[in-house]
Symmetry: C2
């Protein structure tokens, strides 16, 4: 299997650094999907909603085909629907892989020993139910909690995005005081031991785009890492905010938008209800164009 | 609904501070369960293994009925089996609740905003698929990442166990340098605003039992918190190691053992294969007796 960093590089060179989040907010889906679970509760609700989410997700994948380099399913939105939700996630991940969309499973898992191995099988491992190309992880339990995932990267050409610095208002409460920089140091070391000099390695980082000076410092601290940049679009970040996360060669950042692509913006509601796929396609194209313009501007 | 801290207090006063982890290590299950998925792979393996795990788990719950105050299913072991694994987890959590065993869902989730809300519905919320009594959480994304769960505690009488200090060898790499103490400070503040003076509140902590001096300091820093103590039994901790996690009134610690109760120790293999329930029952009784002796000794 071609290593993850190379696969991502090829996809980004082909389509731009566009990652689209697959976040099925049940109250935001088009009305004809919402009708399927309206008024239901308990197991009947979860079954109908999971069915609707799967159908909606397949249409979203169709709409972004050829535009996005990667998709990022947010596991929480599927988990809240129980076993049928996980079955829908499995179906959507399989479909994304079949369409050559790289899958960034947004799970933010973190545990130790045999439990970490279990999470690795649950998310990345090709013998498991999902076999995603990459997964987001939380570093609170220390470097050893990430090792089973590193092993899977090495053995199966997978990738990781480890939480370093998030863009939420209170992130600094825990990630400040050198903590984010410490995690960045682990990531840099792990990539160095896996990739030659300046080539990108399998261990990426999540770095929120809201504090440019900090993003620049973290970019410099992890020269060989892909950076997953959330917060573009609906979360308030602009294309220009993502600039510090790119390397000088224009690579190294993968920019995610979820709600900004998936759902109707102000004034778009009628078009969204009439044909959500056309609108999602248009949003994705606009995002790709905005990120491309940014690259031309900086070059 | 009676608040979680009160329900846990009553259960611990009745049965002792005994929490038993539900960790279905597939290679350690009794042979007649392992036969059900031996030689299979892919979806057929996951379906058969999930079925075996559910049957095994129901027998374990039967075997510890009346001895354990709580059970702690480790979500990773179910997730690795995909949708059928989650269905098995749902069945076992429902059964534990029906038997008045308090459920500590070991999920170590951590995310922000609507995603955190999704994880809350997936784990704690009574309108969701599990409706566990409590859940373990990771604090890396800061205090706001925990708020949807605090709201659910307030509205539905649920509880949390937030990772503060874990017992793994490299935990200090991230949790050191004041980080664990900072999280302990949040927990203490949240309980103070919810419970009167010295009564136990809904926001618990995970504190590994391997560094006694640190456990004593964290116990003092969180006087109103339940502390979930992993690492007893197979992970190398002894009953005496858990002492610093108890309050002066003998309450406030919930001690977990997983592999040490569930599976065969050296020399027990034949009895385990003949009747695993009898052995699990015996292990659980021994654990309860050891923790009771400790309480008498310190009183």
């Amino acid at each position: 299997m071609t290593p993850f960093a190379e696969r991502l590089t090829l996809a980004v060179q082909d389509k731009g650094p566009v990652c689209i989040g697959l976040d099925p907010h049940l109250h935001l889906l088009p009305a004809h999907f919402r009708e399927r679970y309206a008024g239901l509760s308990g197991p009947a609700f979860r079954l109908a909603a999971a069915d609707a989410v799967q159908a909606w997700g397949l249409e979203v994948l169709q709409a972004i085909d050829g535009i996005a380099a990667a998709v990022k399913p947010q596991v929480a939105f599927f988990e809240q629907l129980g076993a049928p939700g996980i079955a829908a996630l499995e179906r959507l991940v399989a479909q994304a892989k079949a369409m050559d969309l790289l899958v960034v499973l947004d799970a933010k898992r973190g545990d130790i020993g045999s439990t970490a191995q279990g999470y690795c099988r649950a998310t990345l491992d090709d013998t498991g139910p999902l076999g995603a190309d990459s997964v987001t992880l939380s570093p609170y339990l220390g470097p050893e909690s990430l090792r089973p995932f590193l092993d899977c990267c090495d053995a199966q050409g997978k990738g990781l995005f480890i939480l370093v610095r998030t863009s939420n208002a209170e992130a600094d409460a825990l990630q400040g005081n050198g903590v984010a920089e410490k995690v960045a140091g682990w990531i840099s070391m792990w990539n160095q031991s896996r990739s030659s000099s300046l080539s990108l390695g399998p261990i990426g980082a999540v770095v929120g785009a809201t504090v440019p000076s900090e993003a620049m410092a973290l970019r410099a601290a992890m020269p060989q890492s892909w950076i997953l940049v959330p917060g573009y679009g609906a979360q308030g970040g602009s294309a220009a905010d993502t600039l510090p996360c790119f390397r000088a060669d224009g690579l190294g950042a993968l920019v995610n938008s979820s709600r900004g692509v998936l759902f109707a913006k102000a004034g778009e509601e009628a078009r969204y209800q009439a044909d959500h796929q056309a609108l999602v396609h248009e949003h994705a194209l606009a995002m790709a164009a905005e990120l491309k313009a940014l690259q031309i501007q900086r070059a």
